[in-house]
Symmetry: C2
Subunit: 324 residues, 2 copies
Amino acid sequence: MTKVESIQELINKYIDNQHFDGNPSELYEPIEYILRQGGKRMRPTLCLLACDLFGGNIDDCLTPAVAAEIFHNFTLVHDDIMDQAPLRRGMETVYHKWNSDIALLSGDTMLIKAFQYVLNTNKLYSHQVFAELCKVAIEVCEGQQYDLNFETQDNVSLDAYLKMIRLKTAVLLGSVLKIGAIVAQANEKDTENIYNFGIDLGMAFQLQDDIFDCYGDVKVFGKMTGGDIADNKKTYLYLKALELASEEDKATLRELFKMPKGRDEKKIQTVLNIYSKYDVKNIVTKLMTEYYEQSLQHLDNIDLPAERKETLKTYAEYLYKRNK
Amino acid sequence: MTKVESIQELINKYIDNQHFDGNPSELYEPIEYILRQGGKRMRPTLCLLACDLFGGNIDDCLTPAVAAEIFHNFTLVHDDIMDQAPLRRGMETVYHKWNSDIALLSGDTMLIKAFQYVLNTNKLYSHQVFAELCKVAIEVCEGQQYDLNFETQDNVSLDAYLKMIRLKTAVLLGSVLKIGAIVAQANEKDTENIYNFGIDLGMAFQLQDDIFDCYGDVKVFGKMTGGDIADNKKTYLYLKALELASEEDKATLRELFKMPKGRDEKKIQTVLNIYSKYDVKNIVTKLMTEYYEQSLQHLDNIDLPAERKETLKTYAEYLYKRNK
C-alpha cells in the first residue's frame, strides 16, 4: 500500500466511524447522505500529506482534515441550491432529493460542524487552524458570489475568471496543506511554500475540470460532456475563444450563451467547433501545465530533502494526470 | 444613563466602528445593510450584562457579544429565505431586496464572520466560547428545522412546540449569558444558573411574541397583528385552542390553517374568536409568567448579593413588560 493509499484508508475509516445522525432527522439525514458518498476526499488527503511531509503526527491532523472535508461538502450542498443541480457524483443532490429549505439548513449545520471538529484539535494550534479555516471559508463564499455574478455579466475578463477560480477552488487546497503544516509546526517559509503549492495545483485542477467538461471521456468522466456549455458557464475556454474569435464567431458565442440553460446538442457542437477553430483546448492545457509546473516549483522550494517530497509530488502528478 | 443604556451605547459604538464591506459588493452590502439596522441588540446586551454581573471586564466580552449578534442576524437572513418574507423590522429583507442566492451566500459569510469574531477573544477562554457558540448554533438550526416540519405536520404537541421554541429562540439567550459568565470566569454553578435564567427568559420572550402577534397594539408593534394566523403558524395559542376546542371549532381551526398563506381578515377574526372562546390568551400569558418567574428564580440562585443582580433583573423585567 502506498503512503497516499494508507492515508486515504485512515481518513475513510475515521469518517466511517463518525456519527452525523441526530434529530430532527430532516436535518441530519442529508449530512449522513452526502458525507457517506465519499468522493476523492482530496482535501483531507492533502492536509495529512502536508502534516506528514513536515514530520507531524497525522493522527493529530485528522480533526482539521475532516473539518475541511465537511466544509467542502457544505459548499457543494449550498452551491447545488443556487445551481438547482439535480445530480452530483452521479447521485441526487440534497437539494433535489429533499428540498431547498432542507439543503439550506443542513448545509448551515455542516458549516458549523466543520468548525466544531477543529475544537477537538490540540489547543497548541487549534486557534491558528480556526483562523485559517475562517479566512478560507470567507474566500470560498466570495468566489461563489463572483461565479454567480458572471452569469449575468457580459464582459468577464480572463483575469477576473482566474481570480474567481482561485477563490472558489484553489485557496481551499492551499489552506488544507497549510493547516497540515501548522499541525506539524513547520516554519513560516515552508508553510507559505506549501500553501502556494496548493494554490497553483488548485488552479491547474480547476482548469483541467473545465477541459474535462468539454473533452472528457464520457465513460470515464461519468457524465455527459458539454455541461458547462449547456449551463452557459463562462469558463476560461469560453472567455479565451471570445477573445480570439472573429466578430462573427464572437456574436455566435454570445448569442448561444444567452439561450436558456439546458442541453441542446446543436448548441454544444457549434460552441465546440468554435473552440476548436481557435485552438482554445491547447491554450488552456498550456496554461494548466504552467500552473502545475509552478506548483511543483513551490514544492521544490521547501527546505527538505527531495525524497521526502516524493509522495506529495506523486499525488500532485496523479491529480494532474487524472482523467476524471 | 443606566448601566443597561451605557452597555447598549458601548455595543452600538463598537458595531458602528466595524467594517463589513468588501468585494464582491453583492456579498458584503447585505451584511452592512442588516447589521446597520440595529434592532434591540438584546443578545450582546445580555452577554455584557452577564460578564459585568460576574465582575468580568466587559471590553473583553465585546467580540463574543458581537459574534452572537452577527450569528443572530445570520439566522434572520436565512429564515427569511425559507419564509419568503418581504419585510423585517419594517424594512425589506435581504432575500427580497436582493435575491435568495445572495441571501444564502451573505448569510453563510455572516455565520463564518461570527466565528471569526470569537478569534479575537482572549485565548484564555476563546476555546470555551467557540465550543458554546458551535453548540448553540447547531441547536438553533435544529429548532428552525422543527419549525419547518410543523408547517406540514398535523399533530404538533404542546411539548413539541415548547421544545422547538427552546431550540429556536431560548438557547441562544442562555448561551450569550453563559458566554458572558465564561469571559468573567464565573464558577460552574453560577454559569449554569445564568444559562437557565436565559433559557426561561427566552421561553417567556417567545410566548410573549406569539401573544403580541395576535393582540399587540398595531401602532406600537409596528406591523399588523394576525401575521402568524395568516401564515398558518402553529403557535402555542393555536395548539392550546386545538386542545380545548369543541370538535366543531377544532375542525374550523384545522380547515382555516390549511388555507394558502396570506392575509384574510375574515379568517384572522374567526381564529381570534375561537382563541377568545377558549381563553387561550390568558392561558398562554399565565405560562409566559411562569417562565418569567422561573427565570428570576435562577437569577436569585446565583451566589452574589441581590443588589449586584438588580441590573439584569431590571432588563429582564423590561423585556417582560415590553409592548413590542
